[in-house]
Symmetry: C2
Amino acid sequence: MDIKDIFDKKIIDKEVELYGWVKNHRSQVNYGFIDINDGTTFNNLQIVYSDELDNFNDIKNIKVASSIYVKGIIKKSPSSGQDIELLANKIDVIGDVDNDYPLQTKGRPTREFLRDIAHLRVRTNLFRAVFKIRSVAAFAIHEYFNKNNYLYVHTPIITNADCEGDSQMFKITTMDLANIPKIDGLVDYKKDLFSTTSFITGSGQLHGETFVGAFKKIYTFGPTFRTEKSNTKVHANEFWMIEPEIAFCSLDNLMDIEEEMLKYVVKYVLDNACDELKFLDKFVSTGLIDKLTKLINSKFTRITHKECIDILKKADIEFEFIPDYKSDIQKEHEKYITEYFNGPVFITNWPKDIKAWYMKENNDGLTVQAVDLEVPGSGELMGGSVREEDYVTLLKRAKSFNVDTDKIKWYLDLRRFGTSASAGFGMGFERLIIYLTGIENIRDVIPYPRTPGNLNY
Amino acid sequence: MDIKDIFDKKIIDKEVELYGWVKNHRSQVNYGFIDINDGTTFNNLQIVYSDELDNFNDIKNIKVASSIYVKGIIKKSPSSGQDIELLANKIDVIGDVDNDYPLQTKGRPTREFLRDIAHLRVRTNLFRAVFKIRSVAAFAIHEYFNKNNYLYVHTPIITNADCEGDSQMFKITTMDLANIPKIDGLVDYKKDLFSTTSFITGSGQLHGETFVGAFKKIYTFGPTFRTEKSNTKVHANEFWMIEPEIAFCSLDNLMDIEEEMLKYVVKYVLDNACDELKFLDKFVSTGLIDKLTKLINSKFTRITHKECIDILKKADIEFEFIPDYKSDIQKEHEKYITEYFNGPVFITNWPKDIKAWYMKENNDGLTVQAVDLEVPGSGELMGGSVREEDYVTLLKRAKSFNVDTDKIKWYLDLRRFGTSASAGFGMGFERLIIYLTGIENIRDVIPYPRTPGNLNY
């Protein structure tokens, strides 16, 4: 039986059998207590055993982290800490623990130490909370889009085109790196599996857009890759992205969708990961639950980039980077603006030169219909835009950004054959998890984070 | 408004506005009919327009595949083919169609031709049906595991370890392929982003197992890669896999889960993609709906590999490959055995030498606790096993398979620190879609299929 079921179904005075791992063990002369967890729920169940059991002396020596089998009766607990406990009739060890087990109960290991034992850190309360929330949030995203009739598209990971440009992409090959075949000094790609340069993707957007012309509303949710050699708290070389795209969609519609989706996910996590959030609120990020509850009840502010810069320029703060009407905003600005409005802020209509080539130009000739969502504590969470739907304008913009338009003829085709006049956004899934958990370092919200020089698993 | 809502809410005698694409257009002297589809539902809505509209002459020339805006009243239809139609008060073209549009209504294009226009084929009824079912099935899988309290884990795509062995894996690099840096003739991996050999994964199983020790029941659902240079109907170099893993799980438990999961998904698709299945049943795979309905009401057969070979040997058929107690079974055998039992068949306890090193050996010393699920019409759909939970035995088996055990010390650790005694299986998602749609070629169930020499998008 799952421990979750014992708690949920309020089982009492019944015999149960269960398997799980020892989280804590306090043995006395004639009896002992084992906190067991089987992974189905955040909280442990207390097992009480006594010297009436045949193998009492073996049981006394059971180590933390052992996997065990237990049979016994669920009873109301006389102690104040918990409602119920299990009086054991039988306890057997399934898997013992070698003495070099690095997660002993004494002391609290640092996050850096835990990153070095990524295969074991998931057993700590901290990481059980984080990865449960990651799983719950992922399902919430699928459920939101499914309920709203979006098609889930598996855009390709292997690609020879990318909307962010080749330079940030990993190359893939089946050739022997020590002996790359060449012709006239150039790589002989005919010898490679795809007979051409090939990469792993940085975004599914362009491929996703091709599906909008058939399904109106689509989303992707898959891994993406960047080769950035930056060791910051917010960068990883592998991360998951959600990229919805909606046909016949204005910038205002897009913001409505972004706001509704985020509130849905936050509410779902509040409802389905209570114990985990309580734990994080208590030990990691005070006020976390308040922050999330406030978000679902707030109305997100909407301002233009120009209005944003106006506010930043009037601020009685000395910024490291001076706010500029022609430039991107920095972390410090994001922080100021979300605190200024005390909640999430959409910033729209960005200077066209600092945004992507496929974004729709406004009539002013200076800005594009782009929108970034900034959230308190985490900064930019989503970035989106209306797409340029005019073939000639799009081609001109692509060329001015030095995009290899031969490689994306198929994408340009979409504007020649019944354009979808679509809009879409991307949300970095890890950014969302950082927001939902209050964990600051992206390495601690990814099961096996990939950063420069780190590939030990 | 979405056309789906018009149908679902049985809207009548009401004015609506909608956007969509022209699927068919028949214009007469004083009036005309446009079949419009906006992607929210499989079926089209008929628009009727007349010369009372100002731009009647422009409307008459609207081409198939154009995107249009329509305003009008929903009316009961006088014609027999449909229940309702839209009497247009206004029709505007959003996106016109260039004359070289390759999907004209005349004639039915071949699947090969359609593969060459992967960005447009999704607009055909065939591919709208297939990719809708793909999306519905993906959600069903997430819902099944979520309902049953499995943790969804994003196992890493970039890895330096793999349970299937390096030789089948794509290498990735940030180095310049034309100028691979070397030291003493060997690749200088210190110059690569991860400072080591790196690959994209062929399976998330090993990493997934590390999460079982914390959550008991987990699953992965993500892209996987193989470098096979085979151009068959069932192989692609990029495909999606589902890999559940369950702690304290026997082979029988595992089969129970596989059967329950598959039935859940099939039932969900039957319930949520009726129109698409009807279309496929009519035009692609006669009897498809019967086949699926039968599956959810059947009890899957369970036989051992030995029993399977016994049956094959007695068959009054001349197989190309002679059935053998020490060997894998072939496509022709899979076909025979599923037809013999007239339904899905689990085959268990395979010869140990032809299965993976991490599978648990039986006491006979000859077989392992592996199980393959064979389904009628598609062959092997899932493959799984109980994992060897004993450290010493596992290490010995790994070495006998020439696995580089230094690279997977972390995996072996799991047996030293409270083993999970787990079992799990892998299901190729495309295999499932082939089964669900009756489409035979894997290239036609993947949005942008990756096969040797094919990377045009």
